[in-house]
Symmetry: C2
Subunit: 304 residues, 2 copies
Amino acid sequence: MVSSSEPSWDFYRTFLAVLEHGSLSAAARELGLTQPTVGRHIDALEESVGAELFTRSQQGLLPTDAALVLKPYAETLASTTAALLRAASGSKDKVSGTVRISASEVIGTEVLPPILADLQAKYPELVVELSASDAVEDLLQREADIAVRMVAPAQEALLARHIGVISLGLFAHRSYIARHGKPETVEQLRLHKLIGFDRQTAYIRMMMKRYPFLDGVRLSFRSDHSTALQNALRAGIGIGFYQTPLARRDANLVHLLPEVEVAIDTWVVMHENLKTSPRCRVTFDALVTGLLDYVRGSETEDQS
Amino acid sequence: MVSSSEPSWDFYRTFLAVLEHGSLSAAARELGLTQPTVGRHIDALEESVGAELFTRSQQGLLPTDAALVLKPYAETLASTTAALLRAASGSKDKVSGTVRISASEVIGTEVLPPILADLQAKYPELVVELSASDAVEDLLQREADIAVRMVAPAQEALLARHIGVISLGLFAHRSYIARHGKPETVEQLRLHKLIGFDRQTAYIRMMMKRYPFLDGVRLSFRSDHSTALQNALRAGIGIGFYQTPLARRDANLVHLLPEVEVAIDTWVVMHENLKTSPRCRVTFDALVTGLLDYVRGSETEDQS
DNA sequence: CAGATGATATACATAAATGTATGGTATCAT
DNA sequence: ATGATACCATACATTTATGTATATCATCTG
């Protein structure tokens, strides 16, 4: 028999801090503890799990394979405690406390701010955390309370509201058209400068499937940062996909080849347990109505 | 200003124990602490989250609404720490330590034991925890390491292996047929005693959709316990759905109306991170091959 | 109705975890 | 070389958390 009893859960927090900061001292500073204490926590945890977690050196602690295996679990613990504290924040019947929202970069940076501004004007005590990233945060891990998703939610425990489809089309800035002309057919796209993503995300793959001509196309500007792509597009660097309702806001963007269109289905998703929380309820509703407005913009454009 | 610093993570463990056992004293016994300590933990946690968590009384502690809101988070913490310790168990290259498997009741009780017996004979140091229940355990919450699922896995982070379809058919024991005769058409089923589930699970609903005649049927024996249903069937109480490969093992079970068949698709699913763990890898493989055998219906060794 | 049981709350002693101070060693810029 | 600055490890003092003992109240049981 090795471990007699379960280790203190605080050790996991310390463990994570050491992993993230690379040294006992740095972790101690982060946690408001002292270096010897952090060292003792790690020693105790190593004893409990029966494995070396770090190779000590004077320039810091290097995680072992065992430590890397445990890391995601510790991260889950951290995000769960954070979510717990968020859930506990705010009173029962007032709309106050913190709500964390996850959305794609484009939606998060371009579409949500005005919606959230209205919401916060209405509820001054509401604190909003917005995680705008194209990496999927997992609602079940409670990294976010509410998410705007581009995939149909599969899990039972999630409360989902279908928004509709956001239309993506090909756009270019007027200045680009002025210099390079306007492609009239899909084939002519090969002669143009195209802007696109670097890594392949799920929805890029979907797009590739739908428009195989995109596969061979050489991109003259690529980035994983949506904002960078967007600014590149607006700066007239080239032609790229852009959310139609967003493009309508900028009169200098020209819609090219309207027959090329990708529709991404959109949901607002929340964990079922949160529906009793006023601040989540209210935020959820605001996102739903705000995004419905936004999407409606893309449908009217469609008809033209 | 309310709470200056994050509460000890140990408080969450204590909190959960109090929730589950209903009193400070009982929680203290469970945790190997004393009643005053547990009381102090709860006090401190209430101070931190700024809410009353329990209404104290001499007959125990009654959770407030706030406590019930926090409960699922605390449960996630508990299952995550359990999973972490499981992940840490066993050495890096040997197949040892604990692996937790989740499966439906029927699969878990009837199909997996022989597969797991072979596996454990091969790897004596492997410890298997089997959760046989029709409630879905969540792999992302790491309640189980490996799951046998009847729904297609949606999450990206999961490593899934498609097994194929398990056929369900209508069966009855010979003794039942002897007493009540054999239904020759679907309509005649209404005249027979039927055995089925009490609550509606997802796959029951699917079945209803496929065979609408089942909807109005009055069940003369119902239970949520698969084993009870199975024993009822074998005792000759009535006619019920049964997994075809399982039924083959018992020569006394008669296949009725073979045109009525439900096929449930089956996957073995594991969290992607676990594929580097030998014990999970090995168990995953064993489950896949074992279940493939089962689905294929190769019952050469079974002569009961 | 009295006594046993099981609950929380409090006071005090004790054990345990933490902090402080210090020493040793690698790395880097001067 | 040579300080300066990171870092970890260890010894010792102190704070903090925990356990023990006890008081008090409610509920069940004979």
